[in-house]
């Protein structure tokens, strides 16, 4: 995308952006930033091999050498679980809600100037997004479980630390390109951007992104989940058809 086109697109979207989507939470001095996504939905079909999400945001002024943007693609929230194996046996650790994807990225000056606590307050730390059931809230093992869960999700490529490429343009406009992994499940995602200055959040915005199945992908999923018996018959017939075709071709050759 050329610079001029990017600026035109950004200004158009900033004009159309909906401030009500934003969810404040970065801190008392944090203001709502005007922002917009290049597209508000992404389609998953059989050819889907991951994508990128482009967000434009206008960061609060004035800026200094520590000013910069951090962004995160978060969602969809789902109940998730992991097993802990100890000498005493296996224990199931359930999270009432945890994002399936947590792809975060920040500009270098933000990573240098902001502490981990500032990222946590800004909702950009994956461990903070894991909601345990009430029974585990007071457990002393909760931080270790959260860390283990985040580590496992990183191994799956669903939680990413350096998922964003952020470019700054004159006048306080920033463009963030965030990686959406190929194994991201469909659902509603939150694209969150937080502006930092002197290591503290000074502006924030949240935009909604929908990841939805289309085409053959959607047909097969719907058939499997809503008409299981029909799907089962098709699966058996497909096996017979492929096996029969191979047998026929084998005879011909």
């Amino acid at each position: 995308m050329s610079f001029r086109l990017a600026i035109t697109l950004a200004l158009t979207m900033l004009t159309l952006s909906v401030p009500s989507l934003a969810q404040p939470g970065g801190g008392p001095e944090s203001e709502i930033m005007p922002a917009g996504l290049a597209q508000d939905s992404i389609e998953i079909n059989v050819n889907f091999t991951g994508s990128t999400v482009v967000m434009f945001a206008s960061t609060p002024q004035p800026e200094n050498a520590t000013s910069g943007l951090a962004v995160a693609l978060i969602g969809p929230p789902l109940p998730q679980a992991m097993v802990q194996r100890t000498e005493g046996g296996e224990k199931m650790i359930n999270f009432a809600s945890a994002p399936a994807v947590f792809a975060v990225g920040a500009e270098a000056q933000v990573l240098v100037s902001a502490e981990r606590e500032a990222f946590q307050r800004a909702g950009l730390e994956p461990a903070g997004a894991l909601q345990p059931p009430v029974s585990l809230l007071t457990s002393p093992n909760l931080p270790a479980w959260r860390d283990a869960f985040v580590r496992l999700k990183k191994q799956q490529g669903l939680y990413i630390d350096d998922a964003a490429d952020i470019r700054r343009f004159p006048g306080g406009l920033s463009r963030a390109t965030i990686t959406l992994p190929a194994n991201a499940p469909p659902g509603a995602y939150r694209v969150r951007a937080v502006a930092f200055r002197d290591g503290q959040p000074v502006g924030e915005t949240d935009q909604t992104l929908l990841l939805q199945r289309t085409g053959l992908e959607a047909t097969l999923f719907d058939l499997s989940s809503q008409h299981g018996v029909v799907y089962g018959i098709i699966a058996v017939l497909l096996g017979c058809l492929v096996g029969g075709a191979a047998a026929w071709l084998g005879r011909k050759s």
């Binding site: 789902l78 998730q80 194996r85 699966a235």
Partner: protein
Amino acid sequence: MLIHLPIAQIAVDPLILAAIGMLVGFLSGMFGVGGGFLLTPLLIFYGIPPAIAVSTQANQVLATSIAGVSSHWRERLVDTKLGSLMLVGGIGGSTLGVGIFSLLKAFNLIDATVTVLYIILLGVIGALMAWESIGALRGSGGDPGRRTRLRAWTRVLPVKRRFPRSGLYISVIPPIAIGFFVGMLAAVLGIGGGFILAPAMVYLLGVPTRVMIGTSLFQIIFITAYVTFLQAAFNGTVDLVLGLVLMIGGVIGARYGAIASRKLKAAQLRLLLALLVLAIAGRLIYELFVGPLPEFELVSRL
């Protein structure tokens, strides 16, 4: 090149999956085993969620078994009469096995039971087969003797019938009993049972190795069709796109496996199958004693 799987919800390389399917299909066509005991761990190792891997492999095995059995059928090496009796026993045994599985699960004994059973079965079957086939290779390299003490029970029991394709005149009770036992183990272990059924047919019933391959595949067709339908209809864990890629690789592999099996002596085939079975047992022993499981593991919701 990558494709996205609609049920597994991940992007995969179809060429790698087709190669996995081809390898397992080759072994299936060669030895008359379904290959599920090999395909499932390979798929999980590649990154397919376990529930999807277990269910979809049955769909692939269905296609490769049909492709594999056709060449054996043309050469009149499928004993449908014997296969049908074992199938009847297998359905009864697997129904009981599902009950035993639930009971073991309720007492939290399933993982330990499955692993130990697997190791004992694979180790004993593999070692006996290897021992016998090496001995046979020193002789004619053909099938084990027809009237061994091991098969005396098949001759003394009532309701005897002729099985012309296998060249047997035995009671119908042993094939049903073997089918029942294998079906029960298959349900408890979550496998097709081909690698247990195949040596049982050769050593306990006296079925010639070449007829065993076709007959075993014949039975596996019905078992895997049943499992595929149940898993797809009630658990929603069969991924048709994944299944199709595996099937295409599998049927090609099965074809070449069947060709390769004709170029080997019966005892050589049994020795290779024994080595394969022992390799799987070795891997399980390694996992149990040497390579411990990770402390934390995500649970798939699929």
